[in-house]
Symmetry: C2
């Protein structure tokens, strides 16, 4: 193998990305310079936020440029090293982009221990989604013992961890997900107290039933009507964590604003946005705590592993169709 | 004078109240029992929140019932007293409703000093609107020196005080109001740094011009498009105080949700609702501070005084047409 397959952004999508959004190219495997390593990437992380990076708008991070390698997190093995801290055989997590090989000076990368958890877990529960869940529910959501918690996108990489952390903190947790199978999984596997199937249930009615005294914390990954229904059922001093809005990312019409936002006034509620990068200096502490919970069996992780960089497009669409279970990853080469 | 004119709610309005929303009746002047006083009411406070009390929905306070005296704050003189703490000639502020005479045991009332400020000021800057502004901008908005502050409904009873307090705290303050006269008033009389005339200017463009580095605190009295434009121009860690939404109170269609709410994510912003009653235990401290600022000439007050309980309906509509300047009050009897 002497060539590096790379997935480039070729065209900004309007609405859902199409096959011609991307282009797969082959280039020479790059050669690491002084203080650099060459990584062979094994697992690439696929996350809803990536859709936002395709739009040419001011946001918390600059957009991916046309003909650039698509930005993505991923785990790879060091196969050549001119770096004092990393040796051949080490596994590193960082943001290599969607490709099979990458050269890096190590900035933004950290070592992961392949003997403690399978590599894909480092893109999920022990990676950015897990960090997002941890800081989102505990710090932004100001979770307190006994809170009644609602989480949307609950079977996803962030939502499933949010719910499990809230259970660890002795809260009542209801998750919203699409389909009976995911709802059963939330209750049976993730220990949620209940689940709402937004594809087959009246979400407004179900929220009312599950929260007779109102919602203390709503962790929002989806936006749209579900956010609006949650706003309509807030307990006093409720907190809403705005983590994402997957229902709106592929909109070709304007984003739907939550018409029930005046419930914030009635309930003296707070709606707060978050970006996980702000908590970078505390990732270490969080990862340690999360690893501890995993070892104790209190925190479970599930990955939906897909294979082949040439299947990126079809795999990426699963984020929005909901045809996946747990953290979506793409295996791009054999370790 | 032996009769008491009372304004009753006769019919729940759909949209803007109409003449038949109300009914004026005459009843006997009530007689105070043991521990009670009889008040002759002089000034009744007219506030946007009253529109919300007409709707038969769950809110922070129960709706006014049909055939009940319309709820309202007001100032009156004690003309008979069987109460140990209040003597004939004292002036009291409380929630007597829209009528000329009221009997009360004093709960929810407090004495006001007619020699320190004209009585109508106690329904405005030294009353609920002033308290709302004080706690809203300082506590809910977490105002810091040097913040760039935007306030809507800026020529109103709450907005004008919000802006003046922010100026006292060395902030940059821009107000949004309707019409050139009000905008001039904000700059010339209230000391604002600038004003945006939403009736004659492109609010989005004007906000961008006034806030090159973004808005730190937006105090929202109006909702609708203006809230949305403010959301589109937040500085990092911005705070939005949701105090009211006067543009939406008479809607016959669903409230317009702010489609730019995802800016909260990008800016790590907070949107928080408030109801002034929560700060009741600290009203005293706030009133003292506000009185001090008034004496020092740092805080100005302006009232729009209308006369005659029979003119309640036309006066009330001024809240929504914007044809008023400062705190709207109705003089219902001669002191």
């Amino acid at each position: 193998m002497t060539m590096n397959k790379q997935l480039l952004l070729k065209k900004r999508p309007v609405g859902l990305p199409t096959k011609d959004t991307w282009g797969l190219v082959e280039t020479e495997i790059p050669i690491p310079g002084d203080g650099e390593v060459l990584l062979q990437l094994e697992y690439i992380s696929l996350d809803p936020a990536m859709r936002g990076w395709l739009n040419d708008v001011r946001s918390y991070i600059p957009p991916v440029q046309i003909d650039e390698v698509m930005r993505a997190g991923g785990v790879g093995k060091v196969i050549e090293s001119n770096h004092a801290d990393f040796k051949v055989g080490d596994y590193l997590y960082g943001n290599p982009g969607v490709q099979q090989y990458a050269v890096t000076d190590g900035k933004g990368y950290h070592k992961v221990d392949a003997s403690l958890a399978p590599l894909p877990v480092y893109t999920g529960t022990l990676g950015m989604p897990g960090m997002t869940a941890y800081f989102g529910i505990l710090e932004v959501g100001e979770l307190k013992e006994g809170d009644a918690v609602l989480v949307s996108g609950a079977a996803g990489a962030v939502g499933s961890v949010v719910g499990q952390i809230a259970k660890i903190k002795n809260c009542k947790v209801i998750g919203i997900a699409g389909g009976a199978e995911k709802c059963q999984y939330l209750i049976d596997e993730m220990g949620f107290d209940g689940a709402i199937d937004y594809k087959n249930q009246d979400v407004k009615v179900a929220i009312k039933k599950h929260f007779p005294k109102g919602i203390d914390v709503y962790f929002d990954n989806v936006g749209g009507d579900i956010l609006n229904h949650a706003l309509g059922r807030l307990a006093m001093r409720a907190r809403i964590v705005i983590c994402g809005a997957i229902s709106q990312y592929n909109n070709t019409t304007p984003v739907k604003g939550p018409s029930n936002y005046l419930s914030l006034l009635v309930s003296r509620g707070t709606m707060r946005g978050m970006v996980v990068f702000d908590y970078a200096k505390n990732y270490g502490t969080a990862a340690q705590q999360m690893g501890q919970w995993m070892m104790e069996g209190k925190l479970k992780s599930r990955e939906d592993i897909n294979v082949g960089i040439e299947n990126f497009h079809e795999t990426f669409l699963k984020l929005f169709s909901g045809e996946k279970m747990g953290k979506l990853v793409l295996k791009v080469s054999e370790g």
